[in-house]
Amino acid sequence: MEKQKTTIILFSGDLDKAIAAFIIANGAAAYDHEVTIFTTFWGLNTLRKDQQVPVKKGFLEKAFGWMMPRGADKLSLSKMNMLGMGPKMIKHVMKKHNALSLPQLIEMAQEQGVKLVACTMTMDLLGIQQEELIDGVQLAGVAAYLGDATEARVNLFI
């Protein structure tokens, strides 16, 4: 039996939306689907390493790098962010309810074979280089995404 496919475009860099995306991805992987998360624009920040990586960059790219959240643990909420209080509260509540944190969800997704893809065009725009992304992320463009999406029955844009 050929495996079913699921794809998710993670455009958003909001913590709540990224959590939703990775919960769906992990669920789909448990359904034995071949799952692809294609990150673009602000969604790329979800896959950034949390430490600074020494890479050569121009001034604008450096500025972007400083202004954008460095990794899954630094994202802000789409609602009730309250200057960072909101994410702290959500993380506390998630722990209380035994829900996996976003970094844990990403790790679980990789363990389950979810394919994490970064959009090269927006990586260039935002000045993000492959070394700055967590290990195991593939680089691709819209055609590769469409190749997966055409064969998938579940395709989400988050």
């Binding site: 919960i23 992990n26 669920g27 448990a30 359904y31 034995d32 309810h97 035994n98 996996l100 679980m108």
Partner: protein, 75 residues
């Protein structure tokens, strides 16, 4: 009901019960029974849908004191 393996997912939130169920069932042979314990209220709908779509058979469900128990026969 007799089972070949028991999986405890009590206290775990979505999507962990289903992720762990899939891992556990991969270790079983076709025809063997996996028993799952869960406290997540969505687990019932989740496991019913999951079993149906992945070709396994949900044989029985029970609930006692807020713990849901499921028996799934591997397809």
């Amino acid at each position: 009901m007799k089972s070949d393996m028991i999986l405890d997912t009590k206290g775990l939130a979505c999507p962990m019960p289903i992720v762990k169920t899939r891992k556990a069932i991969n270790e079983l042979q076709s025809g063997q029974i996996l028993e799952i314990h869960a406290t997540d209220k969505g687990a019932k709908s989740d496991l019913v849908a999951w079993a149906k779509s992945t070709g396994h058979q949900l044989v029985e469900t029970q609930e006692e004191n807020g713990v849901f128990k499921f028996w799934i026969r591997k397809g």
